[in-house]
């Protein structure tokens, strides 16, 4: 305790907080964002959408359940840095294999603890998301601040290539999910930073998922003769993802059933002709009320987005691919949370800004995966043209 190594956190507007080193010793820089979930730090840390972001956990106790071998959302920790108030002195959970501290050290993730995380959160809420640095090497605010200011901003950041798979791979359906005599569905999933749980939701529904690198071409997709195309979540500014937007447009033009999540929702919207903007401080939590325009009900959903689509909530818009309409919005701030595309009064493509795969988060929207299955089953498979 008394011997703990000191660390500082410096925001780009010069605000500095003094705490103790947590995780690896070193320096790190990124965009400061706060996440309000009270559970699921392991899933959060391994979510590729947090690439280049320094996450501030508003829940004070972090690390209570240690680190296990089952709950990772990708192959590594993606957050650029981790800011917590009270790390657990020792974890307690029957699945825990090691401590969070150990895992952060192993993966070289720099963090800070013992700071007033609520004060930082309030500052970000009032002043907006901004760049930040953490250092347990340098205690001089000015030199750290200079490095913070030299860090690239999130607007205009094209980060997909950092997180996408290098090579395509196939995830088979889960055992026993394809009844004998039935054909398994094939989904082409464009990995813009996909989470493990999304893929397991597909596998659980008898889907063979072909996970494709972000630079995949439309011809590659078509060659798979997929039943549907999926665009995943991912980090960075969607407006920079020119290739993904064009690819999505081609998929829609070819009338493949389409499903997008998070970044995938933004790409879908951009392909339909809407634009995106950066939210003041984003949505990062697992308690967000989303209104479903079809059922008129509210789902409690997991969010992780710093950008959002600009689209009218109350009326449909004609696009070259059909009629686009906002299907969901967040009741907290009326932010667009989902889109549908209809042709001939039939939904042919849809996406949501939030995370129906949850992990971490509530399972209220898992039905969207069933909806995708239904959509694919109702659409005849396309031959290569």
């Amino acid at each position: 305790m008394a011997s703990a190594q000191e660390a500082i956190l410096v925001l780009e507007d010069g605000f500095a907080f003094y705490g103790e080193a947590f995780g690896a010793i070193g320096e790190t820089f990124g965009e400061a964002v706060f996440a309000t979930g009270m559970s699921g730090y392991q899933e959060t840390l391994t979510d590729p959408s947090y690439h280049r972001q320094v996450v501030i956990a508003t829940a004070p106790h972090i690390g209570n359940t240690g680190w296990n071998d089952e709950d990772n959302e990708s192959g590594r920790i993606w957050v650029a840095g981790y800011v917590v108030r009270d790390p657990a002195p020792a974890p307690s959970n029957w699945r825990s294999k090691r401590t969070l501290q150990t895992e952060l050290e192993l993966q070289g993730v720099v963090g800070i603890c013992g700071v007033d995380t609520r004060a930082i959160t309030r500052h970000l809420r009032e002043c907006g998301a901004m760049r930040v640095g953490i250092s347990s090497l340098d205690s001089d605010v000015n030199t750290v601040l200079a490095k913070v200011l030299a860090t690239p901003k999130m607007e205009g950041a094209d980060l997909v290539s950092d997180v996408t798979t290098k090579a395509a791979y196939v995830l088979p359906p889960a055992v026993g999910t394809v009844p004998s005599g039935e054909r398994k569905l094939l989904v082409a999933a464009v990995d813009l930073g996909v989470k493990m749980h999304t893929l397991s939701e597909f596998a659980e529904r008898g889907i063979e998922t072909h996970v494709l690198p972000a630079d995949v071409t439309f011809a590659d997709i078509a060659a798979l003769q997929p039943d549907g195309v999926f665009f995943s979540n991912g980090p960075g500014d969607p407006a920079t993802a020119k290739h993904a937007i064009a690819l999505c447009a081609a998929v829609l033009a070819a009338e493949y059933p389409f499903f997008g999540i998070c970044f995938g929702n933004q790409i879908f919207g951009l392909a339909l002709g809407f634009d995106t903007y950066k939210l003041k401080y984003g949505h990062r939590g697992i308690n967000q009320p989303v209104f479903d325009h079809a059922s008129k009900r509210v789902d409690i959903t997991a969010h992780n987005h710093g950008f959002a689509l600009r689209a009218p909530l109350d009326h449909p818009v004609a696009t070259p691919y059909g009629i686009a309409q906002v299907s969901h919005h967040c009741l907290n701030d009326n932010c667009v949370e989902g889109l549908t595309l209809t042709r001939n009064n039939r939904v042919v493509a849809f996406s949501v800004q939030y995370h129906p795969e949850a992990a971490a988060g509530p399972h209220d929207s898992e039905y969207l995966f069933d909806q995708f299955v239904k959509l694919m089953k109702a659409t005849p498979t396309k031959a290569v043209n």
Binding site: M1, A2, F17, F34, T36, G37, M38, S39, G40, Q42, E43, T58, A59, P60, H61, N64, T65, N68, E70, D71, R85, D86, A88, P89, A90, P91, S92, N93, W94, R95, V115, D116, T117, R118, A119, T121, R122, R125, G285, I286, N287, Q288, P289, F291, K296, R297, V298, I300, L331, N332, D333, A358, A359, A360, G361, P362, H363, E366
Partner: protein, 1115 residues
Amino acid sequence: MPRRNDITSILVIGSGPIVIGQAAEFDYSGTQACRVLREDGFRVILVNSNPATIMTDPEFADATYIEPLTPQFLELIIAKERPDALLATLGGQTALNIAVTLHERGVLAKYGVELIGASIAAIRRGEDREEFKRVVESLSSIAGGAPEVAQSVICHNIAEIMAAGEQLGWPVVLRPSFTMGGLGSGFAHDSAELLRLGTIGLAASPSTEVLVEESILGWKEYELEVMRDRKDNVVIVCSIENFDPMGIHTGDSITVAPAMTLTDREYQRMRDVAIGVIRAVGVDTGGCNIQFAINPENGRMIVIEMNPRVSRSSALASKATGFPIAKIAAKVAVGYTLDEIPNDITAETPASFEPTLDYVVVKAPRFAFEKFPTADDTLTTHMKSIGEAMAIGRNFTEALGKALRSLEDDTAQLRLAGDPGGTKDELLAAATRPTAGRVQLVVQAMRAGASIAECYQATRIDPWFLTQLELILTVAAEVAAAPQLSAPLLRQAKRHGLSDTQLAEIRKMSSADVRHLRQRLGVRPVFKTVDTCAAEFAARTPYHYSSYDLETEVVPRSKPAVIILGSGPNRIGQGIEFDYSCVHAAMALSDAGYESIMINCNPETVSTDYDTSDRLYFEPLTLEDVIEVYDAEAAAGPVAGVIVQLGGQTPLKLAASLKDAGLPIVGTSPEAINLAEERGAFSQVLAAAGLPSPKHGMAESFVQARQIADEIGYPVLVRPSYVLGGRGMEIVRDEEQLHSYIANSTLVSPDMPVLVDRFLDDAVEIDVDALYDSQELYIGGIMEHIEQAGVHSGDSACSLPSITLGSEVIARIRHSTTAIAKGVGVCGLLNIQYALAGDVLYVLEANPRASRTVPFVSKATGAGLAKAAALVMLGKTIAQLRATGVLLAVGDGAVARLGQPISIKEAVLPFNRFHTADGGTVDALLGPEMRSTGEVMGIDRTFEAAFAKTQLAVYANYPLSGAAFVSVGNPSKRHALYPLKRLADLGFILWATEGTAQMLARHGIAVQLVRKLGEQCLQLENGKECDECATRPTATDLINSAQVNLVFNTPNGSTTGGSPRVDGNAIRAAAIARNVPVITTVQGLEAAVEAIRCAKAGDFAIRSLQEWKCISDVG
């Protein structure tokens, strides 16, 4: 789906008197419901028998009925008011059970009353264990498969129970259906224990149904608070994790929010199941609470039970999250959906979300075993605590430290210095048995060298919590080892919840010195905000808690503030009556243009609703914490004063130190408080005014006490100084008893002397509540006790207006009260107890503070005493308050106005909640030490009718016919004769002990003789009793076989609290176990006989408080 317009009037049922397992939380929920329903334009009809509640204030409903919560009275009210709907999910198990009965009897159908909140079918599915089990096991569509419930067998008789025990393997748990607070439930480790608990359980269940289930003792225990609307939107409001594992009732556990040791996967599975359960049970519009157990070894999850209503945990969850469950439950019950209801705190976001916390909440239970020395203090699945404190901190250690010091129990705060009190093995062995102070034992065991693993083995407290306790000890060790206290070290200690007094103990300094040093070094707490959303959105409600962190959120203000100190956790002697006064003060001060600021730590209460005051500080009521709040507020704007006289003894005890620390105490000064509390000084006040008091003295040892007693003559009343609720008070009749009292009392020392008073036999006790503004005296009410002096005023029934006092006595009371108010220097409220003996009006004691009877008096007379007191303390005069209608324009509460109804207050005692270690019942005799947990009020045209209502409100099965067992001590025989004759005339069969039977027979009253306990038949033949003896049961036989339904048993000799009187004890114990009314005084008997006569005739007036007020105003 907006508000339903097809209903216009709604009947709301409250939860009745405060009892263990059902306390102030239902006043909080009911008050919220009434408030929102009225705001929405519904006509609200409220029924509750508890006058100490805010909800029964006439301004909270359109028609307020203070009537017994029985199906009979509810039907009368329904017939009169013809409500469209009944909302029964906010009044605890009491209201829910009544709703079910009204449905079964066809009353709801007959009058076309729709049950809203939860349907009968949903209540049944949630409450009936067999149905619930089926519902849970049918949820196979939940991802991960259908949830499990514990293996169990439903039993309806003792044979089935015994068979189930064999089948499931030991130990087994018993859970009677349709009971609250775990009444009648427990663990049986063998067949003997099962037989005993099974019998109790069958009797406790209204449906004679007991569930016997596999033991999940030692598993992790969780609760989720769930809310659903009619569009099927469901949210989880809060997760709660129990520090104490399965096997200890959640009401008796330390609990923590949010859950601390679940991964997201496990938490989401629990959430999925909770949502599945609320849907399948069919709670369409409202809240419910679902409990889970998790096997710490492998994560196996079991659904334990659900409450299809607002519960104690809902109140806790509301305070813990800022999400007002009862308020939202009322809104969804009348048709709104969650997305249509705004979140009060953020104002911009809707209620259809799940609160997220950036702090930790710890609740700790408050027990009262010191009041029931023979009771078994082992904690089980049967709730025994009587109150609770909640604390909020930025981490667990900080919240735990604050919660434990909020309990105001010197033994609760963790001891971090000195001798641990035993060896490691001794302490671990002691910690194995769950008791009130187990967390303390665990910490001491750790100090004596126990490892985390050893502590876990002994207690099954999750290792995460144990490592947090270890963290506290590590910090304490650093504090002990440091050459001096530096700012960083102090800050570190404060971050982990160490109080100034704990630091003082470690450093062997005074806590004042610690405080001064800490303040000089600038180690001060900041105040954060409970905002439901972890700062994602700005909060509009200043609901604060302290933490040793960086940034404070108290905003500057220009209006002058008044800080009100609340009353802390509920306990016997200091219950919600004091909260009532604090709430009224907050309302009056806000209306008068002040910013009202509440400090309290009791999550059950209305005072800790963020709607009640302008600013709320959820903080312990200790010197350290109050000073910090004051300093923070003084920095934010002007503070007009600090009110200490409304929250009972808790704030009063702090008055002098707060003043010394420079806080502006308003109202009666700390010096004047001391004048009334300190015996010698008070005697001089009385002497100066020429007022008599019983002879008395103060002793610091047995020798001194004996000397005083010899001087003033036995019997004497002995008690420690500075106590509330008659704690440790006894009537002592001879020297031997005096010696044993002093020898056994831990509360006597030169620091804490004992008071010895002449005890007045056969006196009429009178309670007066008055208000004094330094010029004028306003008598709130004069209450005449029904029991004679010697029974604690909190435990005795009283009548307002008085039933026998003449105008001359009342004039003397006014004169004496004025003289005392002036002599002491009262500014605000004053409560005086008098005894009228031999036409001399003795002053027993005076308390310059709000009393337990303020809410009762306010309701009986229609004057806002507490509101008036708050305004008087800030400089208003009684004359001004008369002019503005806060007080009566002319006259006061001393004289009954024409047409004024008779109001009776009766105490409710918790004896049936406690058992001795061998399973017996604790003694039920009333004495000078207060033991009641709550009270009911009866209001009617006549004394008999009002008293009858109180008895019907207290006893679910108050007898109007049948048989009575009577046993009268010699001193009471003469007075008991006439009422017993009338009881016989009313058709009661009388059974009596020999002496009493002889007396009755001599007066021509038919009576049957019982055999004395343990009396053997002298003509045994082959082990069989003779015919005569076989037909002569003992009194306990009669009670156990339900052959008598009323017991009148006065004690022979003393009326002390502790000493055993075998026969009487056994009889009262049997009666308590069977819930048979027991009367222990002649005055009580007289009143009861009149009440029975009146109830048989059905001679009741069913009128709302609003109607009574009209009648007496016109009169």
